[in-house]
């Protein structure tokens, strides 16, 4: 079962819809999405509220987790780059990590069949 990986994509919220469509179109059906806050090279900004400074230094991002067969990794990465790369700081990251086991709760199926 070393052939399963988890792909985590952290990117801009406004790219999410398009990315979801794109992933669906290459057959990635299942995903789990979390609202996160991030910082990286892209920094927040400072506003003034009632005369006092108000700095926002974590930016809202969206995280998409997919467990997929390792063989799909490259396609997913390339399509993500296509959709989410705007060329400006804050586009985000893709992390790939090993998964040992997958179970579908409903049926008890395991491994790639469970995806």
């Amino acid at each position: 079962m070393s052939d399963l990986v988890k792909i985590e994509i952290i990117t801009r919220q406004k790219k999410f819809e398009e990315l979801k469509e794109a992933l669906n179109s290459i057959g990635v059906a299942g995903m789990t999405v979390t609202q996160v806050l991030g910082c990286g090279l892209q920094k927040g900004k400072t506003e003034i509220y009632r005369g006092a400074s108000y700095s926002i230094d974590l930016l809202p991002k969206v995280k998409i987790d997919m467990v997929v067969p390792d063989s799909s990794t490259d396609e997913i990465i390339s399509i993500t780059k296509k959709v989410c790369a705007t060329g400006t700081i804050g586009d985000g990251k893709i992390f790939v990590s090993p998964v040992a086991k997958v179970i579908r709760i409903r049926t008890g199926e395991e491994g790639p069949d469970a995806l």
Partner: protein
């Protein structure tokens, strides 16, 4: 203590309390407009509402009031007196001039504030302020002069008791022009032109706003008698106002249930407002049964009107202001020609009144669309009407005002809708 002092006192109390209730409609509009739009623009809408009223109050006092109620030389526009000075004796008021001024001020502000909802979530703040200034300065006062200030429509016998046309349609047609010129919000239509729902962020606040508006209407309509001595009239106006609103809400619920499969909450709230806008013109001259009829007509109209604007015209009006105020204002005004117990077609009064009502509706629509076209186009081609795309996506609150309206709450960045 003489008799006329009592009359003055009773009329003044009535007009002032009515003015207070109409003022409170500003809160109602603020809640409806924020509730029916997204949280990232809530502070911006509030600011627009607050400035509508503040700039409107000042402008109307400085110039608008005398344009509206100054002696008419030509039936088109009143003689201007800066700062509302002068006698205004020709109006024959039983209340002090200042009581009348404040009552008219809150009416003017109502017309002005309607537009912010239709143009919400994408209009630049400074551009909006300029528009808001002009509607209080000239667009609304001129229409008011025609109808209530002794102008030409008044001369023809046009009946718009509390302003279905004068106030609501003026707001509604300006809203139509503004929303059309500025274009739809990002994401409102798919590439093939299908309308997509962009749900508001708080139906609860929207509903609160509608209840506040309904309350305010108990000042708006009965206060327009300008007299607390007119006991039968004001009692009758309370009843017709309330029945029309109830009928509007009820029928809207039924229609959305039939059309969409489920009773639509926000449309039903609009339905109550539609009934209120519709009855405003004839609230004093139609019977209770007539008011229910007008409420039903307005309720039906608002559903199809909003759909028409949304799907056919493809004008994006986040809160339904054009349908509620523009269309139902017109329909309500025309209905007077049908349902007025004295003079209405259905009561054997012939076509005379109906014709005048239709004429008035069109004349006001023309004036308002034309002047607001000029104002919005001029703004658009100078400082620009619309915020940049990036700003619209992030929200006007953070970009125009440097705040988040709900700093403590986790806002859904990705919507669950597409």
């Amino acid at each position: 203590m003489e008799t006329h002092e009592f009359v003055t006192a009773i009329d003044t109390i009535w007009v002032l309390l009515a003015a207070a209730l109409v003022f409170f409609m500003q809160a109602g509009f603020a809640m409806v407009e924020t509730g029916f739009t997204r949280s990232k623009n809530a502070g911006n809408i509030i600011m627009k509402n607050l400035m509508d009223f503040s700039i409107g109050s000042l402008t109307y006092w400085i110039v608008g009031f005398s344009i509206m109620f100054g002696i008419s030389s030509n039936g088109f526009i009143g003689n201007m007196n800066l700062l509302s000075t002068g006698s205004f004796e020709h109006l024959g008021l039983t209340v002090p001039k200042e009581a009348f001024l404040i009552f008219q001020t809150v009416f003017c502000a109502t017309a002005a504030t309607i537009v912010s909802g239709a143009m919400a979530e994408r209009t630049k703040f400074n551009a909006y302020l300029i528009y808001s200034f002009f509607i209080s300065l000239i667009i609304y006062p001129v229409v008011g002069h025609w109808t209530w200030g002794g102008g030409w429509l008044d001369g023809l016998g046009f009946m718009d008791f509390a302003g279905s046309t004068v106030v609501h349609s003026v707001g509604g047609w300006s809203a139509l022009m503004g929303a059309w010129i500025i274009g739809p919000r990002i994401g409102k239509y798919t590439k093939d032109g299908k309308a997509i729902a962009i749900p508001g962020h708080s139906l609860t606040l929207g509903a609160l706003g509608v209840f506040i508006l309904w309350l305010g209407w108990f000042g708006f309509n009965p206060g327009s008698t300008l007299s607390g001595m007119a006991s039968n009239d004001i009692a009758h106006i309370f009843v017709t106002t309330n029945l029309a609103a109830a009928a509007g809400a009820f029928i809207t619920m039924v229609i959305t249930w039939l059309r969409y499969g489920k009773p639509d909450v926000s449309m039903t709230l609009n339905g109550a407002l539609a009934g209120l806008v519709g009855i405003t013109a004839g609230t004093d001259v139609v019977s209770a049964v007539g008011s229910v009829a007008i409420g039903l007509i307005a309720g039906v109209t608002v559903v199809f009107g909003i759909e028409f604007i949304d799907r056919v015209l493809k004008v994006d009006d986040p809160v339904g202001a054009i349908g509620v105020h523009g269309i139902c204002g017109a329909v309500g005004t025309v209905s007077v020609g049908l349902f007025a117990v004295d003079g209405g077609l259905f009561y054997g009064g012939g076509l005379q009144l109906l014709f005048v009502q239709v004429l008035g509706v069109f004349a006001v629509a023309l004036w308002t669309l034309a002047t607001s076209f000029i104002v919005f186009k001029t703004i658009d081609s100078t400082i620009g009407l619309r915020v940049p795309e990036e700003e619209e996506v992030k929200g006007l609150d953070i970009e125009e005002h440097g705040i988040e309206s709900y700093a403590d709450f986790q806002v859904k960045g990705i919507s669950m809708t597409n």
